[in-house]
């Protein structure tokens, strides 16, 4: 299901816990992941050679629910694109993808969503629209009948907060894929929680109840 993830056990002893990665695509028995080097784990991953073995556990978590008949808007910020790639592929021409990133170099990743109608922006203006992906979405959202819109998003917390305030007035349906430091990936440890508006049990597990949540249930 688009939005699900795998826990990858990296080779060697440098990294203790497994690392979660969104499944970007599947081809037969193969799966693809996309990642950005940010720490020890992804650093090690980038040094892995072709045909080296790695243990994967998955697919895990609850993915996106596709609302049939809606106008689909996919919003991705930076490496958050990895979380929505499989969804974009599944929806194909039915989805419009809004992708925002820092620079022209990262904008090259839009090659991954060639099957969709895509709008791109960079924060420094070196490629596409100059500004944030939420500004870009705001410009385009106006033309649509908002009672049949479904938005799917993945990106940094700042982007999700901006998205929430953009959609606040009309409370458009929106599913977001979130990220958190994770230990088990199976719902065993309650390490990777996000705070929600549920008063009885506010902290929900990203790996089990997520990683996709209803934007209107999250405390961002």
């Amino acid at each position: 299901m688009p939005g699900q993830f795998v826990m990858a056990r990296l080779p060697g002893n440098e990294v203790f816990l497994r690392r979660p990665f969104s499944i970007c695509r599947t081809r037969g028995r193969d799966i693809g992941i996309m990642y950005k080097v940010v720490g020890r784990g992804t650093g090690l991953l980038s040094s892995i050679c072709k045909e080296e073995e790695m243990l994967l556990l998955g697919p895990l978590g609850k993915g996106f629910h596709i609302t049939e008949g809606a106008s689909h808007f996919i919003v991705a910020g930076g490496i958050g694109l990895a979380g929505v790639l499989m969804l974009a592929e599944r929806l194909g021409a039915r989805a419009r993808v809004f992708f925002g990133c820092g620079t022209r170099t990262e904008a090259a990743l839009t090659g991954e969503v060639a099957g969709n109608t895509t709008a791109i922006c960079t924060l420094d203006g070196t490629y596409g629209f100059c500004g944030s992906v939420i500004d870009l979405l705001a410009k385009n959202l106006q033309e649509y009948h908002k009672d049949s819109v479904e938005i799917y998003a993945c990106g940094p917390d700042g982007m999700l907060r901006a998205l929430k305030s953009l959609l606040e007035k009309e409370r458009l349906p929106c599913q977001v894929l979130v990220e958190e430091r994770m230990a088990c990936g199976l719902g065993l440890c309650f390490g990777c929680t996000k705070k929600t508006l549920d008063e009885k049990e506010p902290y929900k597990r990203v790996c089990k109840e997520g990683p996709v949540f209803d934007l209107w249930e999250l405390c961002l």
């Binding site: 002893n13 203790f16 816990l17 440890c189 309650f190 049990e201 506010p202 902290y203």
Partner: protein
């Protein structure tokens, strides 16, 4: 002993713990196997001799904000904040899962005052599936300046004694390793009526995020880094305190498990290793069976405490 028939002789790993016969002496450490059902897509929870519940409290606890987990080279640090649904909801909604399986459980519980421990223990009704209550003594005593109950023999004696007065269920004291003399604490627990010990809980630790120049997490250290600390506690207490010891701390493979049994543990708990490899528990059970068979041991009892001889 039946050999070569493909039939495993019954009882090889079985142990009697506090009056209950367990199929094997392997359990999860509290809080590392969710509410039990989460592992079922991979293996059946009744593979273990007993399931240890998430730490339960009188009232539900929401837990801490994130980050709640952080990796270290030889382990991890957690600060979950004892998130749980509360003892009442556990027995209303989660216990039936174990009843259907006829699965023995150990109920871990905690409090932040003596009164909370006592009321929580009193709220747990005896049941033939409840092997014991496991009392988490690492919590801060908020009425005594926030020092952990488990760090002072006098506090241990007082709170264990009061809990013992309100329950007929066997009581296990789970101790923190961050003490000057764990044998003294263990003895205090026994004198107050504890029927067994779980050694050890996580060790207080912190992480510095050098990139952001901050301390993102202070919590409990678990995993391989804790193993030698736990083994020392198990060895010393098994020698000096005449009640069963359950070993816990960094057990990752069958060799680690054997080390704890040889040091005197009657049963063991596995926690963090499950996060690294979710099949660790069934692998260790299988490995112990293989070990006993290869040495023609009649049971795990033969090796418990053997390092003391």
């Amino acid at each position: 002993m039946q050999r070569g028939t493909g039939v495993r002789p019954m009882g090889t790993l079985s142990v009697d713990l506090l009056g209950t016969k367990l199929g094997n002496p392997i359990m999860n450490a509290s809080g590392t196997l969710g509410y039990g059902r989460e592992i079922e897509p991979l293996w059946r929870v009744e593979t273990m001799g007993a399931y240890v519940t998430k730490g339960l409290s009188l009232k539900p606890h929401h837990g801490n904000p994130t980050p709640r987990v952080w990796e270290e080279r030889c382990g991890m640090i957690n600060s979950i904040g004892l998130q749980n649904v509360g003892v009442e909801r556990f027995f209303k909604e989660y216990f039936s899962f174990f009843q259907r399986k006829e699965m023995p459980i150990i109920v871990n519980f905690f409090g932040f005052t003596e009164g909370e421990y006592v009321r929580c223990a009193a709220a747990i009704k005896p049941d033939r599936l409840i092997v014991a209550l496991e009392m988490n003594l690492s919590c801060p005593n908020i009425k005594e300046g926030g020092i952990s109950f488990g760090k002072e023999a006098t506090m241990v004696k007082s709170v264990v004694g009061k809990v013992k007065n309100v329950t007929n269920i066997p009581l296990i004291a789970k101790l923190t390793p961050e003490v000057s003399n764990i044998v003294e604490i263990a003895q205090a627990a026994r004198e107050a009526g504890a029927d067994a010990l779980t050694l050890v809980n996580t060790m207080p630790a912190a992480v510095v995020d050098t990139a952001n120049r901050c301390i993102p997490i202070r919590g409990g250290l678990s995993g391989p880094a804790l193993k030698p600390v736990a083994l020392r506690a198990v060895y010393d207490c098994a020698r000096a305190v005449p009640i069963p010891v359950i070993g816990a701390g960094g057990i990752t493979d069958v060799t680690d498990a054997l080390a704890f049994f040889m040091a005197g543990a009657k049963a063991i708990q596995i926690g963090t290793a499950t996060f690294v490899d979710p099949y660790t528990i069934p692998k260790i059970i299988k490995g112990l069976n293989t070990y006993l068979d290869a040495r023609q041991c009649s049971g795990i009892k033969e090796i418990i405490g053997i390092a003391h001889e």
